[in-house]
Each structure stands twice: as C-alpha cells, then as structure tokens.
Symmetry: C2
Subunit: 341 residues, 2 copies
C-alpha cells in the first residue's frame, strides 16, 4: 500500500528547480512514480550538474523548462500553478565560491529571493522545500550536530546558502508562503556530477575507483562524515513537501552513522575491486575551509515525519558503482575519456 505522503502527490502540480541535477532528478523519479504533474526547471549551466541523461526513462512523463532561477519574470510565470516547489537549484562548490564569491551570491542567495518573490506575488498558497546544507554550521562545536547548533559557515557557499535558507523561513513567517529547509549532509548516489571533483568528494572517489586510479585522502583520513543515499533524501523531500508540520522549520537530513574517510574508501574499494588509496597532505585552499569531523543528528526530522535513512552505505555504494559503470560515458565528456580506464 502506498504511504499517505506519497498518495498526496497523485495529480499534484510540483516543480523542481535544479530538476536535471543530482538530487532533483532522483526526486523527479519518485514524483513521477507517485503520479505527480512534474515540471523540472534547470539552467543546464555547464559543470553545475544538470544532465538530460538524468531523466532517461522518465522524460516522457514530465516537462522540462530550461530557465535560470535568477530570471524574475520567468519565475513569476513558472511558479504560478505549482502546488509544491522543491527548490534545489544552486552552485554547490565550496572552492568555486571562494574564487568567485559574486557568482555564488547570485546563484545561492539572490536567486532565492527571485523564487520567493515570485511566489509571494504570484502563488502565495504554494509550499516550498529548500535544499539546505550542513555547511551552514561550519566547523562543529559538538557532535552529532543538531539544529540548535550555531550557524557559522566557513566558506562563501555556506554563507549564501544560510541566507537563502533564512529567506525561506522569513517568507513563511511573514508572508505566509509555506516553506521549510532540509539541511542535507553528504548525499551520494547515481546521477551526481563526476566530470570534475568540485561537487563533493564521494562521487569523485567513486569515479576514481571505477577508473582504477588512486584515490587521494587528505591527512590521515580519520575525519568523520555521515553519508545519505539520494533515494532517502528524495523521500525526505516528499515527506517535507506533504507535511504542514514542517513549515517554518529547518531539519537535518543525514545518514545513520558516522564513518571515517578511511573506512569509506575501504568499503568502496571492496565493492569496485579496483582503484587504490593514497594519503597526501592537505592542499592549503581546501584546508582553509575544512571543518574537521561532522555528522548530524536527524532525529528532529524523523520525529516530525517518520523518515529514516533506509539504505545502508554498502548497498547504496553498490548501486551507485553499478550505475556509473553502466553509464560512465553519459557523465564524463569525450575529451576526458582519453585517459586509461
């Protein structure tokens, strides 16, 4: 029997910004499955993660609108009949944000105002679920991190994502545009960008292992993270979008246990039967914004919605490796395929 929060989406008009990206496209699969009327909005900016292959097999059951969320008049139009908006568009590289803070500001901060103003004036009855990030906490003072931990980001990306999140809560509280934020930890799974290494190390590690190359771990690899499979994250978005108890709140959404980089790579190499590991010194630009160990306590969200991270890490990694092995050429440009596999 289909769960109630999934039945909620039958015939429901939803929109996903960043819908051709990693999390957006996996969420789209579940929404299509639930019978929703799905509109994906994506700018397809090169290197940002949008990929038409991500909707392979479901492309005829949804609509794609190529647009930039920074474009006010376009957003005014697109939001107007949407019941739920999953707001996932963004620039996710911490390193890029330090090199070019203005672009990060435009995409992660100003664009949220564009979407929220569009809703305020054109569809105030909609519901927004924002893709927040653990990055807003910065270097944690205590572990596991709960939502009462201070927001103290250590990079420009984290600051702009924090502002974008605050805007959502504000529009919920002041203008009655219902909104909440899921602060995602380390999400992994099929359909993540692996063309370059600037969108999270886990996808990059998977690519290196598949290509039988050495994986570099900075320092001794003892720092901890929690990892959450993308299907579990998509499920979290569905639950938050269907629950008015979530309005005006922020929630951690992370994996069930903390594991070290060293252990993660061990599990990964065991699955791939390829690749190797190499311990190297921290590059200075990455060390400057590193946050040490981090893992989140997601019990607030579990309590509010009944969600849990259902997919064990080894299973999730196995599915991910399998996916990329089958579709590597859809995620790595031809120009990059000259290296030995």
């Amino acid at each position: 029997m289909t769960a109630e929060y999934r039945q909620f989406y039958r015939g429901r008009r939803v929109m996903i910004t960043g819908g051709l990206g990693f999390i957006g496209s996996n969420l789209a699969r579940q929404l299509v499955e639930a019978g929703a009327d799905v509109l994906l909005v994506d700018s397809l900016i090169p290197d940002y993660g949008g990929n038409l292959f991500n909707i392979d097999g479901i492309a005829d059951r949804l609509r794609v609108n190529v647009a930039d969320v920074r474009q006010q008049t376009t957003m005014n139009y697109l939001v107007r009949d949407r019941d739920v908006i999953f707001n996932l568009a963004g620039q996710v590289s911490h390193i890029d944000s330090m090199r070019d803070p203005y672009t990060d500001l435009e995409i992660n901060c100003r664009s949220q105002l564009t979407i929220l103003e569009a809703c305020r004036y054109n569809n105030p009855k909609t519901k927004l679920v924002f893709a927040g990030t653990r990055q807003v906490y910065g270097r944690p003072e205590s572990l596991p991190v709960t939502e009462v931990h201070l927001v103290r980001p250590t990079d420009v990306n984290g600051i702009n994502k924090a502002a974008g999140e605050y805007y959502h809560l504000l529009y919920n509280n002041v203008f009655g545009v219902r909104a909440c934020s899921l602060r995602l930890t380390n999400v992994y799974g099929p359909r993540q960008l692996i063309k370059h290494s600037r969108q999270g190390f886990i996808a990059w590690f998977i690519r290196l292992a598949i290509e039988n190359k050495p994986i570099q771990i900075y320092g001794d690899g003892s720092q901890l993270r929690d990892f959450v499979y993308v299907d579990d994250v998509a499920d979290a978005f569905l639950r938050a979008g269907a629950s008015d108890a979530c309005n005006g709140e922020v929630f951690n959404v992370g994996g069930d246990r903390a594991i070290s980089h060293r252990e993660l790579v061990g599990i990964l190499l065991g699955i791939t039967g390829a690749g190797s590991v190499e311990y190297v010194d921290w590059p200075p630009d990455k060390k400057a914004i590193d946050i040490g160990s981090f893992y989140a306590d997601s019990s607030k969200f579990k309590g509010a919605t009944g969600w849990r991270a259902a997919v064990p890490l080894a299973d999730g990694l196995r599915c991910t490796v399998d996916f990329y092995r089958r579709h590597l050429n859809r995620y790595i440009g031809e120009e990059e395929r000259t290296e030995p596999m």
Copy 2:
C-alpha cells in the same frame, strides 16, 4: 592622559564607509580628535542618512569621497592605503527591506563582498570593523541576549546583515584580512536621520517631541529595549579597531539597562517639556517583523576591550534633544517644515 587605544590612531590612515551617516560621522569626530588621517566614503543616497552637515566643524580635518561601496574598482582604489576600515555603510530600514529585498541585498550583502574582495587583493593587511546589528538574532529566546544566541533574523535586512557579517569573519579566518563585528542594539544621539520614521523609532520619537506632536506607541509600550549613546558606540569602534584580540569575533554592543518604550517616552517628554504620547494598535506590516522585548549582554566586549556604556540615557537624550533643537533645519527638508511646530 589619552587612552592607549586612542593614541593608536595618531597619524593612522582610517576609512569610514557610510562616513557621512549617523554613527560614521560621530566616529569621524573622535578619530579626527585622536589625530587620525580620516577618509569618509559615502554615497549620499537620499534618505539613507548621509548628511554633509554631520561633519560641520570638522570638514577641513578630513577627506570626503563620494562613492558607492558597491563599486568594485572604486573600492579597490580607496582601500589600498588604509590601516583601519570602519565598515558602516548600509541600508538600515527593516520595513524597506521587506518591500524591496533586492536593494537591501545589494547594499547590505553584496557590497560587503565588494569591500572585502577589495581588501583581499589590494590591502590584505588592513583591519576591518563591521557595524553588525542585534537584528540578526531575531526574536530572542532568552534575555539578555549573548553572542551564543542563534542567528535567526526575522526580516530581510537582518538576513543580509547576517550574511555581510559572516563574510567578514570568513575573510578573517580564511584570507587573513583581520575583521570583527559589533552587533549594535538601539543607538541614539545627534546626527541621526529624522526626515522619515524608517530608521529607528527613537530618533523619530525625539523629532515628534521637539515638534510638540503626539508620539505613537504600538501596543501597550511594555516591550523592552536597551539604548546606547552614539559616542559610546564610536568609542567601541575605536577600541575594536585597535585590538587584535577582537579579530574573527562578534560582540554585542548595547546599553546598560533594559527600559520599556513607555518609560523611554516618559523620560523623553520630561526632557523636551513638549510632545505627548498616544497608544495605538500595531500596524500589520510592523507587527509581522516585530521581535518583542530585546536587550543585549555586552559583557564579552567589555571583557575583551574594557569598553562600557558611559553615558546615562537621560544625559544622552538631553544632548540629543538639544542638538536637534539647534539644528533641526539641517535634518528636515524645507518641504516638511510647513507643518506647525
């Protein structure tokens, strides 16, 4: 004998953004007195608080450069030889920020990146002191509010000021551009804009009292605030600018005690011997972003620098009333002087 932190400024090249505004111009007076080489940068945007009369009497002892802090190339040039930068430029109206969030974003958030990037590439050895605000805390969970209270702003202005503050800490921590932030509570004193009511109620109350008009208090006037005289705030900026112990930190800077709106107006009317009070219902737009009672604990800053709020409220109000009585025509446009005085 001059205090050490004041001697620090003798011959020191300093810059004040928003230098023709309320706090900036009062700070400029103390810096000129301390023998600093003072450069004021101000955009003189109408209605934002910049006023050339604010430097009456010291204009020949400093330099004024009319410029907008959003202009990157201009800022690149202006910061290059400044030892200390007091970064006070901003849009301060909470209500305006809700009507036009984009302008507030540009002025309070993006402009901070402009200044910090200018320093990063052209003068990384400078020291910045940012004018933060109690508004970043939003509606307080407990009183008095310390710096460990969650940042949870209730209006767009507060969000953008929070982001601007985070940028300063980030540039301190990552790029070594020394910076700290003073989270100011309710500052009052001479040279504040009183042409309209959107820059803080206290200056507006003073104007109404002087003009012998009724002062409207929303609700029953029981909500508490702490008030700090502008000379004490200027002193706080001097201390922070001279202290490397402040780098990378945020500090509350507020008045010594919490008093109600009702009591404040009572004291004010006693001083002016004019004006009256009127209790009215909250306007909905103001109620929506109201934060209830607020007063700050400034002991972290006191401990770090030895600062204290030296001017008692009644004395500060008396000086302020006296100032505006003498110079009212410099702060209220001719078009507004047609009403009975």
